[in-house]
Amino acid sequence: MSESVNGVAFVILAFASIGGAVGMLTTRNIIHAAFWLLEVMVAVGGLYLLLSAEFLAVVQILIYAGAVSVLMLFVIMLTLRRREDSVRPVEVSIGGGILAAVFGTVMYVAIARYGDRVGEMPIVVPDTAALGELLFTQWALPFEVASLVLLVALVGAVWWSREGDDR
């Protein structure tokens, strides 16, 4: 039974994530776009859960849905001067279209050529403790580099937002 349940859940989540992305791109209202993005993030979290990546799913919800999108909405709402400003015309840009076409082609070719080289799923899913141990031993350096990047972004944001001559 669980196979078919997983299948149904996968179809729902796949449609939710792709549909949400389409909704985000086509809506004219920037607030709606932010909420569509949130929906995509939650749906992707659900896909992680289907892959038994429990920790990743929970962190996805906590960080992306719970914090990043709240901040994004906060920024949008603080910078809108009037409520009506949230509705924008859809801008069609040639450069963007070309970029999307190139990206789509590259992804298609990559998946067509190397799509079958997916690693075997482990029978026993490693638990959170094992993941943490791996992250802080074998992958400690990339982990620290990632945190350093975030720190630089943080300091940069503070520096930019300071007003006056003292910066």
């Binding site: 039974m1 607030i31 709606h32 909420f35 949130l38 939650v42 429990e54 920790f55 929970v58 962190v59 919800i61 906590l62 849905a65 719970g66 914090a67 999108s69 709240v70 901040l71 909405l73 906060f74 709402m77 603080l78 409520r83 638990d127 959170t128 403790a129």
Partner: protein, 336 residues
């Protein structure tokens, strides 16, 4: 029992608990706040006014559902759902006793915080879609405050996770059974008082409770993000607020007060009454929240932000480092 029905039953049980909890908490809030303010609270409907809340719920259900002109229709309708569903999901990992819980999660603690972190999004949705200044300001205040205080809230529980070596709520409870020196219960509140204090402050803030109820400050913002809601949509928002009080208090009990266990009581006696013990402890926690609510005045928004970013986060980081070093010294070669 059929395979389809079995997983649905716990969900229905959680909804039932949520509704019952809402009715009980409204009555409790009125009575506790009343007596704290030297009033009586509800007295007329039923003995000691005990059916007043039930009557109010029926009134709420039968009220007209008004949708003001100019609201963002889809978001206005969806917002109460986005507030309500995470609150319901938060019950999934709570261990009421050794066997009574909806599901056992390896990451139970993180899961509960993760689903609760979605609630502010529903609040923003409600505030924005209402097309009302007060609602929007209320929603933005709520968002700023909850994002800021999520950090110290999570940091404050990390020492517990470090000592236990697991995020499974049941294992955290199991670690706290027994006593030290024959008298002191092995509860984390004894061992990690700073964590508990930070947790309490951050939790009050997450719950939008006085002294941190900036998002629905009645005297300034009408009723905050819920201003334009009526009937059962309003009911859902409030139900989820009361339910969040229950969940956070239950987390405090689980993390710092030994969950369903009691010191000095043997397991054989405890086993049948464990859920009752857990719920009672949780309600004591809620009573403390209400006590604070009835005692302290509201904090100003900039003071609140300063407290969060400039005090609570650095203090909890320093405390986390201290605990980390001590844990490493006491148990060399690994935490677990």
């Amino acid at each position: 029992m059929s395979q389809v029905l079995a997983p649905i039953l716990p969900v229905l049980a959680a909804i039932g608990l949520m509704l019952a909890n809402g009715v009980v908490l409204i009555y409790m809030l009125r009575k506790v706040l009343g007596h704290l303010h030297l009033r009586l609270g509800p007295v007329h409907v039923g003995p000691k006014g005990i059916v007043q809340t039930t009557a109010d719920v029926l009134k709420l259900l039968s009220k007209e559902d008004i949708r003001p002109n100019g609201v963002d229709r889809w978001m206005y309708v969806l917002a109460p759902v986005v507030v309500f569903v995470p609150s319901l999901m938060a019950y999934a990992a709570l261990p009421f006793s050794e066997t009574l819980r909806i599901t056992r999660l390896d990451t139970g603690l993180l899961y509960t915080f993760a689903v609760l972190s979605v609630v502010p999004l529903g609040v923003i949705m409600a505030g924005w879609s209402s097309a009302n200044k007060y609602a929007l300001i209320g929603a933005l205040r709520a968002a700023a405050q909850q994002v800021a205080y999520e950090v110290p809230l999570l940091l404050s529980v990390l020492p517990v996770v470090m000592i236990v070596g697991s995020m499974d709520l049941a294992e955290i409870v199991a670690f706290q059974t027994g006593v030290w020196l024959g008298v002191v219960p092995r509860w984390f509140v004894v061992l990690l008082i700073p964590s508990f204090v930070i947790f309490m402050i951050a939790a009050l803030c997450e719950l939008n409770q006085t002294p941190f109820d900036m998002s629905e400050a009645e005297s300034e913002l009408v009723s905050g993000f819920a201003t334009e809601y009526s009937s059962m949509k309003f009911g859902l928002i409030f139900l989820s607020e009361f339910s969040n009080s229950f969940v956070i208090s239950a987390l405090a009990v689980t993390l710092f007060f030994g969950g369903w266990t009691l010191p000095f009581v043997p397991d054989s006696v405890l086993a049948p009454i464990a859920p009752v013990v857990f719920v009672l402890k949780t309600y004591i926690g809620i009573f403390v929240f209400m006590w604070i609510r009835g005692t302290l005045p509201r904090v100003r928004i900039d003071h609140l932000m300063n407290l969060g970013w400039k005090w609570l986060i650095p203090i909890s980081l320093a405390w986390l480092m201290l605990v980390g070093v001590v844990v490493k010294l006491v148990a060399p070669g690994g935490v677990a």
